[in-house]
Amino acid sequence: MVKRNTENVLEVSELNTWYGDRKILSDINLSVSRNEIMVIMGHSGSGKSTLLRYILGLEKIKEGIIKLLNKEVAKLSKDELYKLRKRIGVAFQSGALFNSMTVGENIELPLHENTDLDENTIKIMSRIKLELMQLSGTESLMPAELSGGMLKRAGLARAVIMDPELLFFDEPSAGLDPITSAHLDNLILQLRDTLNMSIIVVTHELESAFKIADRITILDKGEIILVGSKEVIKKSNDSRIINMLERRAISNPLDAKDYLNRLTKK
């Protein structure tokens, strides 16, 4: 494990969110240090992606505080938020590349829009990142011509093109074959070690999480049930964590009469 700086790049305190009347996240408290890889885990519907959207300022915070790179997200003006976001990178689950642009144009977009660099420098930077993602030669291809794994890596190349201080991954290994998935895991570790990035990964892939994480946060039904190192997670006595680690299905003993009543209830 890499020795971490104690400065926090992300602090979430007492975050509560609702979707209509339904509570999605309850009392979320979380901090991520500089140069740390934090993995946020949980089964589908546990609130991982919602938490990510709130951290990124894509949803309006009603209760709680989120500090991203020492700035309180809710108190920033629109322009200040855009300025802050230039210091972070986000790799979306689908890649979220623009279909009307080539892969190269997609990757160069943040540099074209946010910097005054000349065209040649932008091209060189984009090639460096594509090579890092093992995507050399794909610059002139359209996103529709790439495979799922290549799309994710191209999305990642775009996320790191500005050399962000903090990088977010939404489900990096979902839907990928084991070799591509392992390659992405190595890439995440390489980004932390070579470019000194702090990285937050949202995933439900156990193997990947235990390979890359410095610390793991486990979410269940919108609540954090444990935050700790891999060892702490493995030693936990919490049945929900044990079920998850041992990939046990949650079984609900079925009462035939009760089940029939539920089905026929008006």
């Binding site: 990124l56 802050l84 979306f92 943040p110 999305g155 775009r158």
Partner: protein, 260 residues
């Protein structure tokens, strides 16, 4: 119960209008604040304007021809075929040119804009822009709005000119109306005020088409009335076309009443 339902419906309409108003404010604000991207604007001018010319020319030609045919049939009964040029010129400049061009642009461009932006919303591409520190209003909407305001008046002018030649073809070449009286009467009847009315309408229509189409796609995620995915895109595209068309016809009446 009915009163409560009416109140809910009214508040929903007000909320939607408010959201659309904020959307337009953000787009215009982004339009006025530098940096300006000429490349994005040129791309949209190519899409909204240049690629619509053919369809506008074809539509204008046939509309001009059919107007001349209809007016000829009516005017000949009163022995006033010399007024054919002024009838064709006035109807195209004041009403048919701006309205039919706008309806053609809605069908060709507005629907495509709405679907494209809607797909960008469901595929997280708009979120990706935000996360890259790029204002999606500035990057996606402002160039489209400016292209709409610039291109629809030019397309309207093309429609009117081609329509007049369509009328000329039917009136002068097919029905032997004197070319001199056709153009002289048109010149006498069509005043600067009529041209200004046509121009004003086409500018307003250009803004309305892009505003409604882009807003429907951009705010797809806020619309809780139906499905979100591909079905949602299809629904909001239909909505954008219907709302734009009705708004154009309504604002056409309103502008005519104000200017006349």
């Amino acid at each position: 119960m009915r009163l409560q339902l009416k109140k809910i419906m009214l508040s929903n309409i007000l909320i939607r209008l408010g959201i659309a108003g904020i959307f337009l404010y953000e787009a215009i604000r982004s339009l006025l604040i530098p940096p300006y991207s000429i490349n994005l604007l040129l791309k949209q001018i190519l899409f909204v304007g240049a690629r619509s010319v053919l369809v506008i020319v074809v539509a204008g030609l046939f509309v001009g021809m059919v107007i001349a045919l209809q007016f000829y049939d009516t005017l000949v009964r009163f022995g006033s075929i010399s007024l054919l040029g002024s009838a064709v010129g006035l109807s195209l400049t004041r009403e048919l040119g701006p309205v039919l061009t706008a309806l053609m642009v809605i069908g060709r461009t507005g629907s495509a804009m709405c679907a494209e932006i809607g797909i960008m919303r469901i595929d997280n591409q708009i979120d990706a822009l935000e996360c890259m520190g790029i204002d999606p209003h500035r990057y996606l909407i402002s160039p489209r709005i400016l292209a709409g305001i610039l291109c629809v008046p030019i397309l309207t002018a093309i429609f009117i000119v081609v329509g007049i030649f369509g009328g000329y073809f039917v009136g002068v070449i097919l029905f032997d109306v004197s070319a001199g009286s056709f153009f002289q009467n048109m010149n006498d009847a069509v005043l600067n005020r009529d041209l200004c009315m046509g121009l004003t309408k086409s500018i307003v229509f250009g803004l309305l088409i892009v505003w409604i189409s882009c807003e429907r796609g951009f705010n797809l995620h806020l619309d809780k009335s139906g499905a979100y995915g591909s079905e949602g895109v299809s629904r909001i595209t239909t909505e954008a076309v219907v709302i734009s068309s009705i708004t154009i016809l309504f604002s056409d009446y309103l502008l005519s009443a104000l200017i006349l």
